[in-house]
C-alpha cells in the first residue's frame, strides 16, 4: 500500500479521474466557455489549480500520518502543508464557481 501511495501513477490517476470524469459534473462547467471568455478561462485555470492542490493536500495528510522515514516534526510540517493545500483548493473551487456564475450571467 505504501508503494502505491508513494508512486506518481497513483496521484496522476487521481487528478486524471478528476478532470476527465469530474469536470463535466462540476457546477457551472461549460466546456466551450474558456475559449470564448477571459473570465471563463481564468475560472478553468483556478479549477485545474484546485485539483493540483487537492492532490498535494491529500498526499501531505497521508504522508504526515504515516512515518515514511520522517521525524515527528517533519511529519507535522507535511501535515501543515497538506492542510493548507486543501484549504486553498476549497478557496480556488469557490472562486471558480463565482467566476463561472458571473460569466454565465454576462452572456
Amino acid at each position: 500500500m505504501r508503494y502505491i501511495l508513494r508512486s506518481w501513477v497513483c496521484w496522476v490517476s487521481l487528478v486524471a479521474i478528476g478532470v476527465v470524469w469530474g469536470f463535466p459534473r462540476f457546477p457551472y462547467y461549460q466546456g466551450w466557455i474558456p475559449y470564448g471568455y477571459e473570465l471563463g478561462g481564468t475560472a478553468l485555470v483556478l479549477l485545474y489549480l484546485s485539483f493540483g492542490m487537492g492532490s498535494l493536500g491529500m498526499y501531505g495528510l497521508i504522508a504526515g500520518l504515516n512515518r515514511w522515514g520522517a521525524t515527528v516534526s517533519q511529519n507535522w510540517k507535511i501535515i501543515r502543508i497538506g492542510f493548507t493545500s486543501i484549504v486553498l483548493a476549497s478557496g480556488f473551487m469557490w472562486s471558480y464557481m463565482k467566476l463561472m456564475s458571473l460569466t454565465l450571467k454576462l452572456q
Partner: protein
C-alpha cells in the same frame, strides 16, 4: 529518530546530482501510462471517435495534459515551501510548468487576444506596429528573466552534468527534444512541410500525434521530477 532519505538526493544548492540513470525507462513508463489513460478516458467519456478524444479543444487529452502541468506546478510550489534552500529552483520550475499549462489551455489567446504561437501575427499589418513591438518586447523581457535564472542558478550544475553524463541532464535533453518535436508537428499541419502540402486527414493525424506527445511530455516531466518532489516534501527543513 534518523531520517531515511529517498534514494535520490539533491546534495546542495547548485550542485544537482542524480546518479540513477533511467531516462528511457521513465519515458517508456510515461508512454505506457498515457496510452492506458487515453483508452480509459475514451471509455469513461463515451466519445465514439478517437479523433474527438485526442485532438479536440478542451477534449479529454488536452484536459489531462493541462491537469498534469498544473499539478506539477502546485507540487513544485509545495516543495519550494518545504525545501527553502532550493526555493528559487523550485519556483523557477513551477513557473515553467504553469506557463506550459497555460499554453495548453491557449490562455495567451483568451487573455491577451494575441496568439503567440502564430508566427504570421508578428508581421501581419492588420495589427499595429506598436502592438507587435510591445508583444515582442514583453517576450524578450520574459526571456531575459529565464536566461538570468538559468545563468546564475543552473549553469554550473548543467556544465558538470554535461561533462559527467549525469542522468537529470539526459532527462532535460529528452524533454527539450520532445518539446521541439511537438512544436514542429504543431506547425507542420497548417503550414505544410517544405514544398509538400498536408491533406486534411494527414493534418488530423499529425494533430493526434502532437496531442499524444504533449501529454507524454507533461507526464515525463512529472516523472522526472518525482524523486525530487518526494524528497522535498517528505524531508522538509
Amino acid at each position: 529518530m534518523s531520517v531515511a532519505r529517498p534514494v535520490l538526493y539533491l546534495e546542495s544548492n547548485r550542485d544537482v546530482h542524480l546518479s540513477d540513470a533511467r531516462c528511457l525507462y521513465h519515458f517508456s513508463q510515461a508512454v505506457i501510462v498515457v496510452a492506458i489513460g487515453i483508452v480509459l478516458a475514451k471509455w469513461a467519456t463515451g466519445i465514439p471517435e478517437w479523433r474527438d478524444v485526442i485532438a479536440t479543444e478542451n477534449g479529454p487529452v488536452e484536459r489531462l495534459s493541462a491537469a498534469v502541468w498544473f499539478m506539477g506546478c502546485i507540487w513544485c510550489l509545495g516543495s519550494a515551501y518545504s525545501q527553502r534552500d532550493l526555493a528559487i529552483e523550485w519556483l523557477s520550475v513551477a513557473m515553467f510548468l504553469l506557463l506550459f499549462g497555460l499554453r495548453e489551455l491557449d490562455a495567451h489567446v483568451w487573455a491577451t487576444g494575441w496568439n503567440l504561437d502564430k508566427l504570421a501575427n508578428y508581421w501581419n499589418p492588420q495589427y499595429s506596429l506598436q502592438e507587435r513591438v510591445l508583444v515582442m518586447g514583453l517576450l524578450f523581457f520574459l526571456s531575459l528573466i529565464v536566461g538570468w535564472i538559468l545563468r546564475y542558478r543552473l549553469c554550473k550544475a548543467g556544465r558538470r552534468a554535461w561533462s559527467e553524463g549525469e542522468a537529470w541532464f539526459n532527462h532535460l535533453l529528452l524533454g527539450l527534444g520532445l518539446l521541439a518535436l511537438c512544436l514542429t508537428l504543431d506547425k507542420v499541419g497548417p503550414y505544410g512541410l517544405l514544398f509538400f502540402e498536408i491533406s486534411d486527414s494527414g493534418q488530423i493525424f499529425l494533430m493526434m500525434i502532437e496531442e499524444f506527445l504533449e501529454l507524454v511530455l507533461s507526464v515525463f516531466a512529472l516523472v522526472s521530477l518525482w524523486p525530487y518532489l518526494e524528497q522535498a516534501l517528505l524531508c522538509p527543513e
